[in-house]
């Protein structure tokens, strides 16, 4: 009889965690594939205005960004809105060179499809924005996008 009675205290077996790495890896790959690394370190405060009539920027590889806003480090840079291109502050005069340089990075067939996305803080005055628009016109970068947040209908 005792032959069939091996252990008395037979509790519930521990849940196997062997497949945990698989699950985590699956999640990991999902995020690795969908992730877009933050393009730049923002040095300006960016609180974008809200709008309703908006379109989605489709092809991110064909978008250049211009950031305008009050610098975070006001002790060093003051509170006047500054322009940020890539990771550095820039002047209005640098816009043309930047756009031309960025255009040269793209294959020739796609150069006409580049959009310039203006990410501008809502407190900014239009003066600097107008200056930039004039510079963009000079280098024939005519497709622009005023980046906004989506306002949900009331």
């Amino acid at each position: 009889m005792s032959k069939f009675k091996k252990d008395d205290n037979r509790g519930t077996p521990a849940v196997s965690t062997a497949s945990l790495p698989d699950i985590v890896f699956m999640l990991l790959f999902f995020f690795m594939v969908t992730t877009v690394m933050r393009e730049v370190d923002l040095k300006i405060k960016l609180n974008q205005p809200e709008a309703t009539e908006i379109d989605k920027l489709e092809d991110k590889a064909l978008v250049d960004y211009i950031y305008i806003g009050e610098p975070y480090n006001t002790e060093l840079y003051g509170t006047v809105p500054k322009i940020q291109l890539d990771d550095d502050f820039a002047d209005v005069d640098d816009i043309q060179d930047y756009i031309i340089a960025r255009r040269a990075d793209r294959p020739e067939a796609l150069q006409g499809k580049i959009t310039v996305s203006m990410k501008v803080d809502q407190e900014t005055k239009m003066g600097v924005v107008t200056d930039i628009k004039q510079e963009l016109r000079e280098v024939q970068a005519l497709k622009i996008n005023y980046s906004t947040r989506e306002r949900l209908p009331d």
């Binding site: 709008a51 009539e53 991110k60 501008v120 407190e123 924005v129 016109r137 005519l142 622009i144 005023y146």
Partner: protein, 204 residues
Amino acid sequence: MARKKRELQEINAGSMADIAFLLLVFFLVTTTMDTSWGLARRLPPPLLENQPDPPPIKDRNVFVVLANANDQLLVEGDLMEIGELRAAAKEFIANPNRKEDLPEFKPVDIPLLGIMQVSKQVISLQNDRGTSYDLYIQVQNELAAAYTELRNELAQREFGMSYEQIEEMAKAEEGGEKYKEMVDAIRDVYPQRISEAEPKDIGG
């Protein structure tokens, strides 16, 4: 020294999950799921030297929106709040009562719709260097919304669905052509003509 050959020990994979979690957290933190949304616009090409002046446009066909440095709006000579702009723009574009001081119409033959009365409207937007960007975007948004609402009404009347729905259908890979034609027809009736003045200081 006759030792028994030891069997190869299996590597403990228990910490694999920890490593994977570490990587996962890294990607979770660096990922930005934000899709960029915004108002798409096209800038006019640069002015050439000695470029001849464009032909004059009749006053009744132009809807002038001025925004000053104190974020006030002057629309067709009247002070206006941003909330009223959409209705005013709609009234101007469509001119439902065919008023004398609102835009003229000319008959145009449009595919799918036949001969339609298309208004010769142009919206002229001028802003000061001191206007806030927020107001500028709100004005652009309201004007775009006026066009969208009119297009919606027309699409609802002619095709029994909203303009936005048709636009959505036109993006489809298959069978999109039919809807594309509808989109073009509606755009021909209500073309979006927002012209921005060459910059100048209009003061506060």
